[in-house]
């Protein structure tokens, strides 16, 4: 069985973001990382791989710099690496990215897909369900834990009422939320092995994906509105005012 893990390279959550011309200035991003929810997906797949009998294929769609992320995945145990080279990912809309990723999954022959529930940069959250739709596969989102038995999977997901346990069989797509385990650290031996793993690089056209034009146009970007400055009260005489504000404006008492 093959598990394709879909990964996106995003600005590290600790990296400073510079906005230029209404867009994030990618050249100013000092550190790029695997999107954190994709890390949960990767770790879950690695644990299943350790139990045996599974090939883990790391797949990404993105610019040349994203290749490093695939090598990082190889260093912790990914068996094969697929890179669909798209220099400007932000020029594509979600459905185009889904079409590319679904085609890449088909190319790998994997019938199970793991991915993060959303990417840490765009937060669209559409990749898992979108890829599942194109592959005609079942889809479970917000997965926090997963267990496998043959080709059937049991996934735990959080709902408003508590946790749900869902059983599905392949083909299936799981979109992971933060679970109980963090992505393992690579060790020296894994890193030394990683350089021997070849990244299969291809274009959307190689996969037979007709990109066409995007049906989405973005009218504008704007930063979130600035929060009004905090108010400060001193002395016992202000108690009544503070209580009034907490009750009537903040609605906390």
């Amino acid at each position: 069985m093959g598990i394709a893990v879909l990964m996106k390279q995003v600005p590290d959550t600790t990296a400073k973001i510079t906005v230029s011309g209404g867009r994030v200035d990618e050249s100013a991003v000092s550190k790029w990382s695997i999107s954190p929810y994709d890390e949960y997906a990767l770790e879950s797949a690695l644990q299943i791989k350790e139990a045996g009998g599974v090939d883990l294929i790391a797949v990404t769609c993105g610019p040349a710099r994203a290749a490093k992320m695939l090598t990082d995945a190889a260093a912790v145990g990914a068996d094969a690496l697929v890179h669909v080279l798209v220099e400007d990912l932000s020029a594509l809309d979600s459905t185009q990215v889904q079409a590319i990723l679904a085609a890449a999954v088909k190319h790998t022959g994997a019938d199970v897909v793991f991915c993060g529930k959303q990417a840490a940069d765009t937060n669209a959250g559409s990749t898992g369900p979108g890829v599942a739709h194109l592959l005609g596969a079942s889809c479970v989102t917000m997965v926090s834990e997963i267990a496998v038995d043959g080709d059937s999977f049991t996934a735990m997901r959080a709902t408003a009422d508590g946790n749900e346990r869902i059983a599905v069989s392949s083909p299936c797509v799981f979109a992971f939320d933060k679970g109980t385990t963090e992505l393992r650290r690579p060790n020296v031996r894994g890193i030394m092995m990683a350089k021997k793993k070849v990244i299969e690089t291809m274009s959307p056209a190689d996969l037979g994906v007709d990109m066409g034009g995007s049906s989405v146009s973005i009218d504008g970007h704007s930063p979130p509105p600035e929060k009004p400055p905090g108010q400060k009260f001193e002395g016992a005489e202000s108690v009544a005012t503070v209580v009034g504000k907490l009750r009537d404006e903040a609605n906390v008492i």
């Binding site: 000092s30 550190k31 890193i191 350089k195």
Partner: protein
């Protein structure tokens, strides 16, 4: 904010992908595990056991050795590991240096096949800790006159003497002990449960507080005959270990200096005096520029020495220069960073005083600053200035 190492001359671009990945993995580990916990470890004067486990799992212990479970990493990558560990704390780098360069290396280079197979895989994995006994209470810079003796008793060796300033001693499972057998310095593997061997911890240190420092005491310590290192005689044995450790220190010191520089730069930009950040004042900029200059030179020394280590074209004098220079510059940078931090610089909220106190030890151990100067003096003039009749 993510830590961004100073790299003014883009040394990063000279590294291989593999070297960068290893550097980043160790950097992340230090960021997540050492930096948040180091002040407590220093206050409690312990080397957290979890760090031993983690370093073993990461595979960085004795990483440049090849075979016997060890990966055979480049010395460049090993240097980068030391740099990142010492950005956290010199005590963590000391742990790794002693394990890899001083305890594993002599077994790997001078040990028997049986010794290599028995000890090295477990030491690489961090399951067994090693230490290195050369320095004695009365013989520091002059180890050749050591008084620790081994006697051949037919079916075993009997060790008598004492070693001092031994990193990892009390927590070690085995010690590489250098002692004179019939007047010739030989290496012996002493295990922690050998009769007549004790390793009391030294207390009262103001430096390397998160590192275990011990005495090793041998009172009719009886060890089996197969625990002598067969492959070396004389000071060449311990000195070849020290060459590797000193090489690692030349990188480690850059890490400590980077930590001080990074803190000083951040502090100078945020500390307001006379209505402006102190970073806007010329005297502070002069200090920061000096730090940048010295760190950049130190990086280039370490990088080039790493190339020579990997090519096999290095000399011990070149290692002396890099160890001496880089520790010296790191210590000066720590002092200058303390100055920029003003009174805040003495608090454990900042890494400055800890690095400064650590570097005082690093300046002295593995060949003192002055001894390295004498090694270079000997190299220049052909006249050794260590030993004389007065």
């Amino acid at each position: 904010m993510a830590y961004e190492a100073l790299d003014f001359y883009d040394v990063d671009s000279l590294l291989t992908d593999e070297e960068r990945m290893i550097r980043d993995a160790v950097r992340d580990w230090v960021e997540e595990n050492v930096i948040p916990n180091i002040e407590k470890a220093c206050r409690d004067e312990v080397f957290p056991d979890q760090w031993r486990v983690d370093l073993g799992e990461m595979g960085v212990l004795g990483a440049p050795l090849k075979g016997y479970g060890c990966p055979g990493l480049s010395y460049m990558a090993y240097g980068l590991i030391c740099q990142e560990l010492e950005r956290g704390d010199s005590g963590v780098r000391s742990f790794a240096s002693v394990q890899g360069s001083l305890a594993m290396y002599p077994i790997w280079d001078f040990g028997s096949e049986e010794q290599k197979n028995h000890y090295l895989p477990k030491m690489h994995a961090g399951e067994w800790i090693g230490c290195f006994g050369l320095t004695e209470p009365d013989y520091g810079s002059n180890p050749g006159d050591m008084i620790t003796r081994a006697e051949d008793k037919g079916d075993h060796y009997l060790l008598n003497g004492a070693k001092m300033w031994i990193t990892n001693g009390t927590i070690a499972d085995l010690a590489i002990v250098w002692a004179k057998l019939d007047g010739v310095i030989r290496g012996f593997i002493v295990e922690k449960d050998d009769s007549g061997f004790t390793a009391p911890e030294m207390t009262g240190k103001h430096s390397l507080k998160a590192s275990v420092t011990s005495e090793l005491v041998f009172q009719d310590c009886r060890i089996p005959k197969d625990r002598i290192l067969p492959g070396v005689e004389g000071l060449k044995g311990p000195f070849s270990c020290l060459n590797n450790a000193r090489y690692g220190i030349s990188w480690g010191a850059v890490g400590a200096a980077q930590s001080c520089f990074s803190s000083a730069k951040e502090y100078a930009l945020s500390r307001i005096q006379f209505d402006h950040p102190i970073a806007s004042f010329q005297l502070v900029q002069n200090k920061l520029a000096w730090m940048l200059r010295e760190i950049t030179k130190g990086q280039l020394l370490a990088y080039h020495l790493g190339k020579k280590k990997d090519d096999g074209t290095w000399t011990s004098e070149q290692i002396s220069l890099a160890k001496m220079n880089n520790v010296d510059m790191a210590l000066e940078i720590a002092r200058m960073a303390r100055d920029i931090h003003g009174a805040n610089g003495i608090l454990d909220e900042y890494p400055i005083m800890r690095h400064m106190a650590n570097l005082e030890s690093v300046k002295t151990y593995e060949g003192t600053h002055d001894i390295h100067n004498l090694i270079l003096g000997h190299h220049i003039t052909g006249i050794q200035a260590f030993r004389r009749e007065l």
